[in-house]
Symmetry: C2
Subunit: 209 residues, 2 copies
DNA sequence: CAAAATTTTGACCGGTTGGACAAACGTTAG
DNA sequence: CTAACGTTTGTCCAACCGGTCAAAATTTTG
């Protein structure tokens, strides 16, 4: 019995990967119920029954995708630790998170879709693993505040605000580009965003003097 | 010919309102494609053909909902004007926006759903009405910066960050509550958020001295 | 009351979708 | 070659879904 490692041949590994890649594309733009197995199969270059040979149910694909997603998605937060200057640490967390929004917008949208609909499939993860991680990092941040290294405020809401502002550039990308227009909505928007966010989180809006 | 005001009896007005209310509930939690006419009809307490008597197509309901939504949704930004102290003006914009996230989370989620999927139905509005409004307000904010009333930064990204942080409490509500836990995730979370956001946007994270 | 107009419903339809299945195809090992 | 195993596909099905339609029920109007 080997329930924890049921993988077989190399072909299966490759095909499963192909399907997951295709499913990420389709799910992230159409949502779970808005996506069809046929769409995913076509995007993966195979027939529907063939796809169902590798994943028995549509939900299995989604579940596998979500499991992998959470690991990579929370990696930047996991890296946040006590060594180094607090402000620098927070600044690079924001930068990494923004880079993920730029480089993995599909993952961000998939996650947003799931949360928007009430997180029916990952609620236990949110209340368990995620809460534990955030609480742990909030304690670190609280320590920084007590030591006078950063301003005193609510660490949890601070983390929320970093998530919100960075993921916004992935989840609401079409809106951002529409509002910025053709000239400013190009590739440079992420650098503009990085500059702005750094200033916002470090200094706020009050004029310097 | 009265294409602009095709409303008829009082019953029609009431039933249409009933349907829109039910559709808001269903669409905002399941997305457009994830929602069925049957679900909406049941939530509105009527049969499917009866619902289709008031709205001929599923898309008509969604379209009507989106049109109304945008007006109320952008109201807080429209109120932002040049009279009064800039920092106070921005602070009350943030507060109003957060109140909307608290009082109209379904509207926020409906909008988020639409944007997430590439805004297929409201793209023209984003590039037209919305962009015009944001550009106009960005000009006002730029004036404040030139006058030294607030710190110099990018007005567009400032507006994005206000949208992102406030709507986060509606769109990602389940995640916020899961992470905050039973004790801190109660009704007080919006007041905590308001306090945090005020501090973030005004002073940033650098320690006071 | 009676005719006209409006509202509601049951039955139905065509298209789509998730999924099952067995047969065919390919590949590898003896 | 051939048997065994893994892979691929055509076909099919039952459930669902958006939408139609005609008839029935109700309300409005004269």
């Amino acid at each position: 019995m080997e329930g924890s490692a049921p993988r077989r041949t190399r072909i299966q590994q490759e095909k499963r990967e192909l399907i997951l890649e295709a499913a990420l594309e389709v799910f992230s733009t159409n949502g779970f119920r808005g996506s069809t197995i046929d769409q995913i199969a076509e995007a993966a270059g195979m027939s529907k029954p063939n796809l169902l040979y590798y994943f028995r149910r549509k939900e299995d694909i989604h579940e596998t995708l979500m499991q992998r997603l959470l690991d990579t998605w929370l990696a930047p937060l996991r890296e946040l630790d006590d060594i180094g200057d607090p402000l620098t640490e927070l600044r690079s967390y924001i930068r990494r998170k923004l880079e993920m929004a730029r480089d993995f917008p599909r993952e961000s949208r998939l996650f947003a879709n799931e949360i928007l609909q009430g997180a029916p499939r990952i609620m236990p993860l949110l209340e368990g693993e995620l809460k534990t991680l955030v609480d742990e990092k909030a304690t670190i941040i609280k320590g920084w505040m007590r030591a006078g290294k950063i301003a005193k405020t609510d660490p949890w809401h601070l983390i929320f605000s970093i998530w919100a502002t960075t993921q916004h550039y992935a989840d609401f990308d079409v809106q951002v580009r529409a509002v910025l227009g053709a000239d400013r909505g190009g590739d440079g928007r992420f650098e503009d965003a990085a500059r702005f966010l750094e200033q916002l989180f470090l200094d706020g809006l009050k004029p310097k003097d």
